[in-house]
Subunit: 191 residues, 2 copies
Amino acid sequence: MVFEILKDRILKDGKCIDGGVLKVDRFINHQMDPYLMKQISIEFIRRFADLKVNKIITVEASGIAPAVMLGYQMELPVVFAKKHQPSTMADMYVADANSFTKKTDYKMVISKEFLTKEDHVLFIDDFLAYGSTGKGVIELCRQAGATIEGMGFIIEKSFQNGRHVLEQAGVKRIESLAVIESLDNGRILIR
Amino acid sequence: MVFEILKDRILKDGKCIDGGVLKVDRFINHQMDPYLMKQISIEFIRRFADLKVNKIITVEASGIAPAVMLGYQMELPVVFAKKHQPSTMADMYVADANSFTKKTDYKMVISKEFLTKEDHVLFIDDFLAYGSTGKGVIELCRQAGATIEGMGFIIEKSFQNGRHVLEQAGVKRIESLAVIESLDNGRILIR
């Protein structure tokens, strides 16, 4: 099971950083393990097997690897929201978000060409922490009239309550492949 | 052949922007076509079939999709250089680069943990324009003592001379899947 593989990998290669940060840059967000990304994408397919989606949305940069592997397996286009406004982009949807690890506010943008009211979206990202990025995506989809069918995360830090934030914002299906219950005292506690 | 597929796609979905920019955000760097990325990765494997590499390096964000598909097919780890210094990263190599489309300077960083003198690197990116990003990667590898075996680009704009810049910097193998000879007068001319 991918849960066991992911759990072992988090315990072996993950590192606690002060302030509730779990560093997984050995296999997810700096060095990436493509085979693990493929296993992760297959597990997302299982979890969301009952949903009809036509597009996968993620956010640069760490969400791109799992999203593109999932898009490949599901034969769906993948759109990554950008964290800056490209000089070559004219018509776009814009939402505010902030980065928990970087402690900065930023604008998330998606071109109006790639998100429309016809879209049934599966959102994929590496982490669910406080839910700020997810809320930004909800706002982008609201502006576009697109429907969010589900949100999938590789790792959820349940003690930061992002799931509650996204449920309150109306997301009906949230799946996380590994749930971290605590990082207290430098110890990774996985549910 | 992936060249024909890519050429047709560039002519159908690419757009010329003033100042020598080719916008391909319908299938490469905003909305992504994962199946095309897989075809691209297979062509890179063919082009670099004679090289021995143990690691794929790319740069966030648009290089991640082709690099992770290639890493998956080749069963190799992929490291993406970051365009900012993460708060959770301590020991790192740093190089200067500038973005042609964004007209900004930035620092490229890779953790010392993920690039060493043992590494034989294949660098993958979406565009070869003036070669600034590639030069940054050369500098990161120089600092680490890693060997660059080759550099592969989905699209090269030959009139911006990045190939010459990288060859002068000592790169022996450069492969581009589609070479744009001119974007003059809003017309895409592919070799």
